[in-house]
């Protein structure tokens, strides 16, 4: 029973990180139909910022804010320098461009920081926890889960109650008509990238708190998981991204618990395999989001 509960907490905590990454990916995708593979590198930027500021002795709270700010700035730069000129390009070109941007950023990280992992000096409270009977709960997990809950809730309210939020939703539905409402196209796109950057930054904080070192390719794995979460949920829908993130985490933790030790190194492969089976069953994702890009078969 304790073990089950322990696994449950692990899954929710992991799912929170995936959900945040998936949300960041989905916001940009829903509006621009752009799969931003460089989303992982936004997280890496946050990781290096966290490493550098903590190394310099900055208080962890300020370091966290700096990391989020770095992600947001990086996201805005990406939009301005790489994606804006390609806004009307065909989807394949966009896809390759975002892939190339991701590769270029990884290479730049390699150039500036080298291939060796940079250890992040986490504050002590990250390892602290408490016990309920046999169950040991880390404060970090509680923190991740609560903050993610708050973020999802405030994002929901933001998208429901504010004009900018409504504009983000309507632009995802019909960009042209959104402009007919007098809403600036650039404002919507920049807003989406800001949100996406902020989500990447927060997800990076949680991710690097659990994996406390950063290498040039650090962002790749969480980015891929976030994207897969989006695809299983239904690419382009925000609620689907959140559900997909938690589903992926539960699949991962669940498989890990069931699998024998000899199979657990294959965890990622097995989870992706299950995801592929899910897609066989519902090519449009669980929520069956309409695929404007391609035929639904």
């Amino acid at each position: 029973m304790e073990l089950m509960l322990q696994q449950f907490i692990n899954a929710v905590s992991l799912g929170s990180i995936y959900a945040l990454v998936a949300l960041g990916v989905a916001i940009v995708f829903s509006i621009l139909r752009l799969a931003n593979f460089a989303h992982g590198e936004l997280m890496t930027v946050a990781g290096y910022t966290l490493y550098a500021t903590l190394l310099a002795g900055v208080h962890w709270f300020l370091a966290a804010l700096a990391a989020i700010a770095a992600s947001v700035i990086a996201a805005l730069l990406l939009e301005r320098l790489a994606y804006r000129r390609l806004r009307s390009a065909n989807p394949l070109t966009l896809l390759i461009t975002s892939f190339a941007v991701s590769v270029a950023l990884q290479s730049l990280f390699l150039l500036f920081f080298g291939a060796r992992p940079k250890g992040i000096e986490l504050p002590a409270f990250v390892d602290a926890g408490f016990r309920i009977g046999q169950l040991r709960v880390q404060w970090l997990d509680v923190f991740i889960i609560v903050i993610t809950g708050l973020i999802v809730l405030s994002l929901h309210l933001f998208l429901k109650k504010t004009v900018i939020g409504l504009a983000l939703r309507s632009a995802a539905d019909d960009f042209r008509t959104t402009r007919l409402m007098g809403i600036k196209a650039n404002a919507v796109v920049v807003g989406a990238f800001m949100l996406s950057g902020a989500l990447a930054g927060i997800a990076a904080l949680f991710y690097f708190a659990t994996v406390p070192n950063v290498v040039p390719s650090s962002g790749f794995e969480p980015m891929l998981k976030g994207f897969i979460a989006c695809v299983i949920g239904g690419l382009g829908s925000l609620p689907a991204a959140v559900v997909g993130g938690f589903l992926l985490a539960f699949l991962e933790v669940g498989s890990d618990a069931i699998l024998s030790n000899s199979l657990s190194p294959y965890l990622d492969a097995i989870v992706f395999g299950i995801a592929i089976i899910l897609l066989r069953w519902r090519p449009g994702g669980l929520f069956g989001v309409r695929m404007t890009e391609d035929l639904r078969v």
Binding site: A167, T177, M181, A185
Partner: protein
């Protein structure tokens, strides 16, 4: 209203020349790549007028409306609104300057509620201002009260058309562009749409209307332009158009 000429060159002018013309397109040309949709078109709309654009499918009417708000690629000519040149302005700036388009097919944000749709229509308004405008529209569109929190995509075609018009009005535009508001609606609903337009006319809303239903449109319009293959074939007072030119230009092309 003073008399309007029936000749093509002079009839393009509204009642009181120059004084209260708010929209003026001069030599406007629209092209999608090599395909010319509108050629050398002159058009004027005066404050408080209802002007109707008639013509067969593909005559360039919708392209014209979209060109005014900057959604169609304008390749020549100029457009002024209330004396300001808006030819090179972006769609969002044109809309903010006081022109509102109800697009063909209504184009509501279907997975958002009626109220949310209207909120976007009044995106520039402060929350309190928006509430006031929203209330003000209730007597004209009772549906807004009944279905405020329904998902827009689930409404019937007629209801959606009303919401689309309300969405365009909530920002208090000084010129309303209506693109085929009766398209695809049952006759009884079409009546309701024309009632609304007549009510808007009583409230002195300036309207440029594109409509297939020429007879109905000319009944409520002050003036009309008949387009064919991207150019104006005839223009003049609604009553005069109804009597004569319409049969030749409009029906002639439509029958071809």
């Amino acid at each position: 209203m003073s008399s309007l000429g029936n000749q093509k060159d002079s009839s393009a002018s509204p009642a009181n020349p120059a004084a209260d013309v708010i929209l003026r397109a001069t030599g406007l040309a629209v092209a999608y790549g090599a395909v010319e949709a509108v050629r050398n078109l002159d058009l004027e709309v005066a404050a408080g007028e209802i002007v109707v654009l008639l013509g067969a499918n593909g005559a360039g009417k919708s392209s014209m409306l979209n060109a005014i708000v900057g959604l169609s690629p304008r390749v020549g000519g100029s457009i002024t609104f209330e004396g300001h040149d808006i030819t090179r302005k972006s769609t969002e700036m044109i809309v903010r300057s006081g022109i509102s388009l109800v697009p063909e097919g209504r184009r509501l944000f279907s997975n958002m509620t009626v109220r949310e749709n209207l909120r976007l229509g009044g995106a520039a308004l402060r929350p309190a201002e928006f509430e006031r405008e929203f209330e003000r529209l209730h007597d004209l569109f009772p549906i807004l009260r009944k279905r405020a929190d329904s998902q827009a995509g689930l409404l019937s075609g007629g209801e959606q058309q009303q919401v689309a018009i309300a969405r365009a009005l909530v920002g208090r535009p000084r010129l309303l562009l209506l693109d085929e508001p009766s398209l695809g609606l049952a006759p009884i609903i079409v009546n309701r749409v024309f009632e609304i337009i007549e009510e808007l006319r009583r409230r002195k809303v300036t309207i440029l209307l594109v409509e297939q239903n020429a007879e109905r449109a000319l009944k409520i319009a002050d003036r009309g332009y008949v387009m064919s293959n991207g150019v104006v074939e005839a223009a003049g007072r609604a009553a005069d158009l109804q009597a004569s030119a319409i049969e030749n230009a409009y029906l002639g092309t439509a029958g071809a």
